[in-house]
């Protein structure tokens, strides 16, 4: 069993019945992307983030986003130290390998953008000084469905910075029963043993870059993208960045499957996570495709594999 499989297994023991989402989250991580989990409270978003960080042996910080959160609360602040007569930088919670941005859409756009810029650049600039963030650096943001009260929905441009968005959803009846019968999740989390070292994760990330993407597969990816641009079903088509994200995620997925090349199934598997938050269906299509899964299924069905 490879180490990454061990991670999957361990996390699956805590988040029950969500194998697919856990794999997507791992693929997102391996593809050096950030993850957005959108769902109603209480389905295990935070637990998933915890379990992932612990299993991968990464240090972990949690930022609870609230409407009065300031950028300094995220990035850190320089405080004057009277003893040494100089300003000292106190790094914020963002300086960790895994950052859990909980309920990101409850904060004001100002605080949101502080986080999102750090995500994109992998560095923060405070008081004119640029500080690199640790490597690997991975943001898991959770958000409540935007129709809930007191939310600042992320604009499309910010959503685009998340490689994937996944929805956990309620567990199935069997998983739910096992959950109710089982131990407290907190206790389980505390007992988690890291399955791999950060260096190993970095190696895995590099390896994912080496996964081969053939011309035939690029044809397929292009066909998918150009379909979204031409079809009247979507308000706007997928951006080139979305295309890059799709290829990157598919590579990571292939690697999780222990393959050295990408097949169309990989693209289809990551499609819900990658395009769900980037495509908004128009009119009639909106009703037919309410969730990411539906949007992806519709897109897959309308493009033939070349």
């Amino acid at each position: 069993m490879t180490k990454i499989e061990q991670v999957t297994q361990q996390v699956s023991g805590i988040i029950l019945g969500k194998q697919q989402q856990i794999r997507l989250a791992l693929a997102c991580l391996v593809a050096r992307g950030h993850l957005l989990i959108e769902d109603v409270p209480g389905v295990g978003k935070t637990t998933l983030a915890h379990a992932l960080a612990a299993s991968l042996g990464l240090n972990f910080h949690r930022i609870q986003f609230t409407s009065d959160l300031l950028p300094a609360d995220v990035l850190g602040v320089a405080v004057y130290n009277g003893d040494r007569s100089k300003f000292e930088f106190h790094p914020g919670p963002i300086f960790s390998q895994v950052v859990l941005a909980d309920e990101i859409n409850r904060a004001t756009p100002k605080a949101q953008s502080a986080l999102l810029e750090a995500m994109e650049e992998h560095q923060v600039t405070i008081e004119g000084e640029t500080r690199r963030l640790p490597d690997p650096f991975f943001v898991i943001a959770t958000q409540n469905p935007s129709h809930q009260i007191g939310t600042f929905p992320l604009p499309e441009s910010q959503l685009d910075r998340f490689l994937m968005r996944i929805e956990l959803g309620y567990p199935g009846p069997e998983a739910e029963r096992a959950l109710l019968r089982g131990e407290n999740r907190r206790d389980l989390l505390e007992r988690i043993q890291p399955c791999m070292q950060p260096a190993e994760l970095l190696a895995l990330q590099r390896e994912s870059q080496q996964v081969h993407v053939s011309d035939a597969l690029l044809d397929y990816v292009q066909a998918l993208i150009s379909h979204t641009r031409r079809s009247a079903d979507y308000v706007s088509g997928l951006s080139p960045r979305a295309g890059l994200a799709l290829a990157q995620a598919a590579r990571a997925w292939a690697l999780l499957d222990a393959r050295k090349h990408v097949v169309p199934e990989d693209v289809q598997a990551v499609l819900p996570g990658v395009v769900g938050h980037r495509l908004s269906p128009t009119g009639v299509a909106r009703e037919a495709a309410a969730t990411s899964k539906d949007i992806a299924a519709r897109l897959i069905a309308s493009v033939a594999i070349p």
Partner: protein
Amino acid sequence: MAKTPAKPATTPAISLRNAVWLTVAFALVAAPHAARLPPWLVVLAGALCLWRVYLARTRLEMPARWLLIAIVAASGAAIFLHYRTLFGRDAGVALLVLMLSLKLLETRTQRDGMILAFIGYFLVITNFFYTQSIPTALYLLACVWFITAAMINLQHADEPKGLRGPLLTSAVMLAQSVPLMVVFFVLFPRVQGPLWGMPSDAFAGVTGLSDNMRPGTINKLVFSDEVALRAEFAGKIPLPNRLYWRGPVLPDFDGQTWTGSLGGLYNNIGMPRRGDPVRYTVTIEPHNRRWLFALDIPSIIPPRAAITGEYLLLSNTPVTSRMRYTVESQLEYAIGSDGANVMQRRALRLPPGYNRRTLALGRELRERHGGAPDVNEAITNAALALFREQKLEYTLEPPLLGRDSVDDFLFNTRQGFCEHFSSAFVVLMRAAGVPARVVTGYLGGEYNPLGNYLIVRQSDAHAWTEVWMEKRGWVRVDPTNSVSPARADGGLAAAIPEGAALQRGLFTSKNPLLHRLALTWDSVANGWNQTVLSYNLESQRALLYRAGLDGDALRTLAALLIGATVLVTAILALIALTHRKRSREPALAAYQQFCDKMAKAGIARGDAEGPLDFAARVATARPEFASAAHEITQLYVSLRYQGEQNNINKNNNLKQLQQHIQALPA
């Protein structure tokens, strides 16, 4: 834009490129109408086109709706004033051009663009109301090509392409539609006459012989190079001086104008046969009258036609479209020889108080030759001799004549065209008590050796006379011929003096090369007329009959049409399918074979189903194929997705893949 309701997002705004393409397409289609429309409308439409392009370039707002409505109202009224109606061919086309050029200024979204393109197609058809010649057809084909390209552009608003891309696609699409077009042309049930009634004004301005003659009527025609009819002879073509194409017979004279009436119509008229009849097929150009031309004298009557007592063939309906009929003529004939009748009395009447000198001359002739054995013949010969003595001159530009036109011509001006000669001769004959009448028609024609047929043009229009003689009946006498014999033998060009103002078109060109070119062109045009334009219900039936199909024509046609459509679709589908199979990528081609075999086994691969998923599905549905499907899929995936550098034994893998697939039961 604020005034228009927001369009749904599915019809995005039209781009500059598309706006320009559509405007150019419209201008191309409307261009042939320019000569037929009132000049102000041409200027207006052109200005509107330019305005649209200007707006597209500057991205300014479209004109307000009230302004457009004002333009519509004003120009609509102007069109009504110009044509005195809003219906019919000319006013209809004018309105269509106006509306379409205004629609340009309303074209905001891609959807509007599509509408414009479709109206453009309709405007293409209206050009055929005026002419259906080969150049027109070619030009309009080019227009259709361009409009289709503009539509292709509309569909790909986001992909900027050069001129070539859309035009090429459009050409391919048109080429693909050719088989269907041919099938529909040949098999679509032909309707007698046009599918919908042609507007009543559609035939205004067609040239041809009229039902009366006054000095100048025929003269007007000789400047026209237009074809009146073409004739193909079954045997040898008769000599030029016997090619008298009989048209309206005009026995009545009021001092200025010769007129006739049709009288009774017969389906059969007694004709004693003398010698061999000449058999030929005439293709007559539309002239909006009922008469059909035949050589003197027609002895059989074509279908859907009748003959008058004056041996003029009459179609049952006016000849408003090109018509083809086969007739026989008796060049040696005797008509009306059976004693006196009403026609002879009618052929003696003269208006009182006109042409006194001619009347006197007639009386003198009668006195001098009254005692001859055949009085009428003697007087005719004497009159012809008199015409020659008078030194009458044959000219295309005769001087104007006074009230006593015949006196004026015979004794003063002495210059005239065939109508002057025939008119004067008949009046003189009647003055001498000899029944005579004017016959109009065409004389001669030009032989086209390329198509082996005779071309008779409007410039061959002619008027001659018929004189009634004892025993021989109505005898053709051509007074023009006695003065200028070259007219009958060598055609008009030979008869008129050098330098006369005859229009020098290609046909009359003295340059042999140009002349030959003109003849070639006419032969091509004739072929087009015969095969494409005159393909009617009868030719369709004949064609089907030759193909061994008979019976209820419509039902047969419908069945054939459906059958042919299915066949064509099937062939195209087959081509599309086999084309997909014969993919350039051998691994893909082999895999396609595998999928086909699986489909036959009841498991069809979806277009969007990945190979691994498919293999898994095969394994669950048909476990007996599981291992083979697994092997094949592994090989296929490695060939197609693994990449060359990672797959060292590529050829080997391909061979294995093909072997595995061969091994599968078909």
